[in-house]
């Protein structure tokens, strides 16, 4: 029997199974989105594939009853962990009125849901970093035990808002965790043409905070790093920068063709380290995930996603004139 890492991190068997289930749910919804896109039913997909471990590992390290997240467009694993449902995501994919993210106003991947403390996001990258810092500032002002997590890609870590936001957080010692999901590519441009330093996490020292680089395919490693950062934050020790290294398994989006800029062999090599495979193996080796349980989980998720797809496909669009609503507060 292999080493039981999760128990030494304080995670129960149920919790790690839940992590795996969430990762699998994200992967399966993502795959369904691609099928719907390629069959002409939804106009656009942007994927989480290859980053589920980092997203779910980090989320499970937080208090999902009170902490805030400012996700970026690939973070399906984060929003699922924070309470969004398959149906919510499908409604967003189909741009239907009931979509809790935007009521069909934004492209898929532009997450936001106030009741689950998921800050609304936009397409210009990195703008969410100062927002998460602002939440942390408010939390500190109110002396609340609340941490905010903001995620972004490694390319986005070149934006001014990254530096301005992290420096602000560092100066004011705010309870914010910045997690850069390094998937090696900013659309077509590889990491070495994006980042001058060896690691994104090297930048942390410039903002007076610790920086760590961890294996983004290992949800437990990410969990451990983020848990430590959250503890530091709650202790008033300030912010942390974490870089999770994995690989983007799909093209940038449904409108991209990655064969024009990277070798198939590279992708195939990365797929061997896919967390959906490696973490499943870990859970099987640890005796947590039995064959029965796996079958049961597969069937359950398939049903959920089928139902969600049907519901969303048949749900109504927003009324055309509703495009005029909610520019400003409408006090009745």
């Amino acid at each position: 029997m292999a080493e039981n890492r999760h128990q030494s991190l304080g995670l129960s068997d149920e919790q790690v199974l839940d992590m795996y289930r969430t990762m699998l749910m994200a992967r399966k919804i993502d795959e369904r989105m691609w099928l719907l896109n390629r069959s002409g039913k939804i106009p656009f997909v942007i994927s989480c594939q290859g980053q589920e471990a980092a997203q779910v590992g980090a989320s499970f390290a937080l208090d999902r009853e009170k902490d805030y997240v400012a996700p970026y467009y690939r973070d399906m694993g984060v929003v699922l962990a924070f309470g969004m449902t398959a149906q919510d995501l499908m409604l967003s994919g189909f741009a239907k009125a009931e979509d809790p993210n935007s009521g069909g106003r934004q492209m898929p991947g532009h997450f936001g849901q106030k009741k689950n403390r998921i800050l609304s996001g936009s397409s210009p990258v990195t703008t969410q970093v100062p927002h998460a810092v602002g939440v942390a500032l408010a939390s500190k002002m109110e002396k609340k035990d609340i941490v905010s997590l903001v995620t972004l890609g490694e390319g986005s870590s070149n934006q001014g808002d990254f530096h301005e936001g992290l420096n602000f957080a560092g100066v004011h010692k705010l309870p914010v965790i910045t997690m850069v999901e390094n998937n090696k590519y900013a659309i077509s441009v590889p990491q070495e043409k994006q980042i001058a330093s060896k690691n994104v996490s090297d930048r942390a020292v410039g903002y007076g905070m610790p920086g760590f680089t961890v294996d983004g395919n290992d949800p437990l490693a990410v969990y451990e790093a983020v848990k430590a950062a959250a503890d530091r934050a709650r202790n008033g020790e300030g912010p942390t920068l974490i870089e999770t290294v994995s690989y983007r398994l799909t093209p940038h989006s449904s409108d991209d063709d990655d064969r024009t800029y990277r070798e198939r062999e590279e992708v195939e090599e990365a797929k061997k380290k896919d967390s959906l495979i490696t973490f499943k193996k870990y859970l099987q080796d640890a005796g947590v995930l039995t064959e029965d349980k796996e079958k049961e989980m597969e069937e359950e998720l398939t049903k959920i996603i089928n139902d969600a797809t049907d519901y969303a496909e048949n749900a109504p669009y927003a009324e055309p004139e509703s495009a005029l609503k909610y520019v400003y507060a409408e006090n009745e």
Binding site: P100, Q106, S120, T127, G134, G160, F168
Partner: protein, 327 residues
């Protein structure tokens, strides 16, 4: 009723709102210990402490962005941009984020923050301490832009801005700060955002303007009254979204409309005002709508000769009013 300067009215409004609601806080460059480079936040640091009067790093996008995040959480941040000219690094946060927050989340999230910035010229501030930047933001639904002309309006409108559930840009004319004084009631009052205000009733020529130029127009009107020219002056107060009803009413009042701004002429707020009049007032117009504005050069030069040439003043307004009245 106490008489105070324009900038004292700013400070008073901030102080009263911070006393009223502990969610209100101030952030910006030099706003804390120094009390602001113009002294707009004078005394607030001592009264409310460094947690609610925050000296931020010198980074405008973070000032706006952190404010947006805090506002999403439920705070009422009042951010100061040291000069309106330096708001440019924060434009992405203001336009892409604050302006669209409510709309893009289908009314789930909002960003109720106020961004204050001193604008305007005539203070030997040269290109980058003199600009009027309102038109950069004035086609961004989701934003509100307030530009008051008097201390009374400053207090009432700034308090309203802080209480508003949407992001408000509050541009204060830096020359007005100590030049314009007026009576300001001590009580807690707000003025409606989105409503223009008739500052003078008249029947010969209508002047529509905002900010410091309102004072120029009023001065000119007093002189012209001696010549028997009776001016009607509408202070827009909120330049976005515009108070169409008041604009139409003021234009119809005399049929001769002069629009004044110290911003560059092309693409300024008053172009939009002109379009509203053109759409609604054809059969009441008695003269072509006139625009009096700064020249279409990038900004206000430093040398006094060139600055004076660029800058609006009561004489320029008076001349344009007389010209239109005689048409």
């Amino acid at each position: 009723m106490p008489v105070m300067s324009y900038i004292q009215a700013v400070t008073k409004a901030l102080q009263e709102e911070m006393q009223r609601d502990e969610n209100v806080f101030v952030l910006g460059e030099d706003v804390g210990k120094r009390g602001g480079v113009f002294r707009a936040t004078d005394g607030l640091y001592d009264e409310f402490g460094e947690e609610r009067v925050i000296d931020t790093p010198l980074a405008e996008s973070a000032i706006a962005g952190v404010g947006i995040g805090a506002a999403m959480y439920g705070k009422r941040p009042v951010a100061e941009m040291q000069f309106a000219d330096f708001i440019m690094p924060a434009v992405n946060q203001i336009i892409s984020e604050a302006a669209k927050m409510r709309y893009r989340s289908n009314n789930d999230w909002s960003a109720p923050m106020t961004i204050r910035a001193p604008y305007g010229g005539g203070v030997h501030g040269a290109l980058y301490h003199s600009q009027s930047v309102e038109s950069v933001f004035a086609n961004q639904p989701g934003l509100k832009i307030v530009m008051p002309s008097t201390p009374y309006d400053v207090k009432g409108l700034l308090k309203a801005a802080i209480r508003d559930d949407d992001p408000v840009l509050f541009f204060e004319h830096k020359r007005a700060y100590r030049l314009i004084k007026g009576e300001v009631p001590e009580d807690d009052y707000t003025l409606p955002i989105g409503k223009a205000d008739v500052k003078r009733e008249g029947s010969d020529v209508t002047v529509i303007t905002y900010g410091l130029c309102v004072n120029f127009a009023l001065q000119a009107a007093e002189k012209l009254a001696e010549e028997g020219i009776d001016a009607h002056i509408l202070d827009l107060r909120t330049v976005y979204p515009l108070d169409q009803e008041a604009i139409i009413e003021a234009a119809k009042k005399t049929g001769k409309v002069l629009l004044v701004t110290e911003d560059n002429k092309e693409g300024s707020i008053i172009g939009q005002v002109s379009a509203i009049i053109a759409e609604n007032c054809l059969f009441d117009l008695d003269a072509p709508v006139q625009r009096l504005a700064g020249p279409d050069v990038p900004s206000m030069p430093y040398a006094p000769t060139m600055e004076k040439y660029f800058m609006m003043n009561p004489d320029k307004v008076e001349q344009a009013m007389r010209d239109l009245a005689e048409f």
